[in-house]
Amino acid sequence: MRYFPKAALRVGALSATLLASTASLAFAQDKSITIGLTADPSHLFPLAGEELSSNIMYYHLYDPLVQRSPELEFGPGLAESWETVDDTTWRFNLREGVTFHNGNPFTASDVVFTIDKARESIRPGLVANIASATAVDDLTVEITTPAPYAVLPNDLAELLILDEEYTTATDDADMDLKPMGTGPYMLEEWIKEERLVLTAFDNYWAGAPKIDRVTFRPITNPATRTAALLTGEVDVIQDLAVRDVDRVKSEDGFEVLTRPSLLNVVLAMDTREQSPTIEGPNPMTDQRVREAIARAIDVQAINQIVMNGLATPSTQYVPASHVGYVDGMNFREMYPLDIEKAKALMEEAGYPDGFTMTLDATNNRYVNDAQIAQALASMLARINIDLQLNIMPKSNFWGYIRVPTEQSSFIMSGWDVPAGDAGSMYGALFYSRDKKEGYGQVNRGSYSNPELDALIDQADATPSIEERDRLLQEATKILLADVPMIPVHYEQDIYAVREGVSLEPRVDKFIWAYDMDVE
């Protein structure tokens, strides 16, 4: 309890209440909840790494300047408001009276410190679009971007603010065990792989949380997670197994909640003249061949047979909530399943007898990924494409398919943009390779289109978000016509809760107890 004198006081006060008044009264005011996660967090220090369980903890313990709503809207967090001073300078007005869990006041120098610290950390990408940060006064920060960048606030939703004094005095490995933020919850206890307990931070700037004590338990095995919910050991579980959905629905007193995730499963096609796994010239340089492949893939069948109906077919490369989404355009309507048309396109392009290539895919990264790959092989066989499968675990996959992709022609992977903006995705996946630093670094198909590059350049140079939206929508239209990549589907996030727990699943999957309540 050395690190949380306030918590100690609180517990002390609580036991005093227990002694003085009736026990039931004290308990009636103390709400607690137990949440079954798929894995224990790896970190509690936001600059040490990133994965879902850690992210969930970060947002309980820390706050960003800009808060992201469950629906991916961006609003004030530790910054009350912000405005642009000129094309590349932003001024953030910080919230007054916010304190860290140790009582230190939150000030502009903490923000500057966090940005500098992030740059030296293993996650410099967090501040890639920040050139400099200066504290104007205690509650005002000016942040400059290297070029006009309309979605800076969206990026800042992922940068969690550290206490300068505490973080400087604590080494990085210790930061993982003894976090110190301004968030709605404080760490009470973390027993690795067993449980992580958070207690409410009563001085939270947005008001004390409704639930006083949150226990996270890592339960990796999906069937055990279901069992733990049904036996009442946990109140909420993340990632209910698809096969258990009906079982839980049929039980009294439990509820299943689903929502489409942001993760778009996509198929990248090589557009180089020569492709590593294809003999002779690469047919996929021809838009007609790419379109034929898109038309041969039966996304509905994949959804029904492989995904048990728990996937949402993708309409574009980003979800409808994102900057750059074109209302009314639907990949599925542009290129519906049509084998005859696909065969005709193949013939037109000069490949009536098809060709042979290899699909690289994972077997432990996406829901039923290996089965999707198998389904694709049989679907493409109908237009005479002999699809060889090269399936591997994710630990090998990311290095294998890495740009310059010297071993791959056709790759299945996933992409999500929690920042709510198509720009970063297009810049990374579709911008010509090796043309500009920080662009095209994940362009696995070597797609190159000067027109598209120009649009992305302009979008990244405008300080106006409306203008950016317009430019990125133009980019979306080009991409949907050119088909450098086939969007397949969004996975669905599935939660189950016991009755009396109110949980509204977030698009970004970050379970947040502050938004929850229990009866």
């Binding site: 293993i122 095995n221 994710k394 290095g399």
Partner: protein, 321 residues
């Protein structure tokens, strides 16, 4: 005795060294850990920075040399993923595993030895046949299936035991134990039973085989003739002489269960160290894998040593050389 210890110590050092070399070599095939840590849209500069921070910017040979160097100073390296000392990560998860394995072994022995002795002494009886068929089931049923069935029956259906976790623990000398609290016991029973079944069956069958062989020896008849009770003959004269192979297998099983109780731990979300190994393999977290496997090798060496010592206690004719 001193010569024996020295020999064992040299052997052990050799084994540990070989394990470290093999793991280091193997890990060069399992993918680059950097890509498990950086975001997929990381730029070259970001990747280079991560590589530098993790110490992965040098050749494998240099990395191995550095690993050996710091090993000699008692530093076992840092996990790439957790950024914590690899040894700490393993040690903080180990007591839970050891506790579970010991309880499982007690279950296994308590059931297997009496049944094995009975089946060995009365090979023709119907009961013995039942025991032997039962033991076949114990060997052939996969642990994950048994675990799921137990959870379904005892937790979900009847609600007798909780399905997962470690329950309340009591602290003794800084270590937490589930077996010291009632709640802890209700949590440990299902995983311990699941874990014990395979070992139980193996020990039962070996005890039976040993007893059948010993039963044919003359000294058993003499013991009976000199007036020892039937139970004395079986347990004091018979079992003692049949124990050597049982103890050998027992030692190997303990090591095996401690090192690789992963499946049972995962099913019951028992917070042991097995899952750490699996996660680390998936994430190509080499420092953790190296230390884990070296620790496992060490456990096996120590257990084998103890087994050798126990031999001499059971059979005075055996000497440690």
């Amino acid at each position: 005795m001193f010569g024996y210890l020295l020999k064992r110590l040299i052997q052990m050092t050799l084994v540990l060294w070989v394990v470290s070399v093999i793991v280091f070599m193997m890990m060069s095939f399992t993918g680059d850990p950097v890509f498990m840590i950086v975001p997929i849209d990381a730029t070259e500069a970001e990747i280079a920075q991560a590589r530098r921070i993790l110490g992965l910017d040098q050749s494998l040979l240099v990395q191995y040399w550095k690993f050996l160097g710091s090993l000699l100073q008692g530093d076992f390296g840092q996990s790439y993923v957790f950024r914590q000392p690899a040894m700490t990560l393993i040690l903080e998860r180990m007591p839970a595993t050891v506790e579970l394995v010991l309880v499982a072994m007690v279950f296994a022995i308590a059931v297997a030895i009496p049944l094995g002795v009975y089946a060995g002494a009365n090979p023709q009886s119907r009961m013995s046949r039942l025991i032997m068929s039962g033991s076949l089931l114990g060997i052939s049923l996969p642990g994950f299936w048994v675990g799921m069935v137990l959870i379904y029956l005892f937790s979900v259906h009847w609600g007798i035991f909780p399905s997962s976790g470690r329950g309340d623990t009591a602290e003794v000398m800084g270590l937490r134990f589930s077996v010291l609290t009632w709640d802890g016991w209700t949590h440990i029973i299902l995983p311990a039973v699941t874990l014990s079944l395979g070992t139980m069956a193996i020990i039962l069958r070996i005890t039976r085989a040993g007893m059948m062989e010993v039963g044919r020896q003359d000294f058993m008849k003499f013991a009976r003739a000199k007036g020892a009770t039937k139970n004395d003959v079986l347990y004091k004269h018979g079992l003692k002489n049949a124990l050597i192979p049982v103890i050998t297998i027992f030692g190997l099983q303990i090591g095996d269960l401690i090192a690789f109780a992963t499946i049972t731990e995962t099913i019951f979300s028992w917070p042991g160290m097995g899952k750490l190994l699996i996660d680390s393999i998936y994430r190509a977290d080499r420092p953790v894998i190296v230390v884990y496997l070296m620790l496992v090798a060490l456990i096996f060496v120590v257990i084998n040593f103890l087994v050798d010592v126990i031999y001499t206690l059971i059979d005075p004719r055996i000497r440690l050389k």
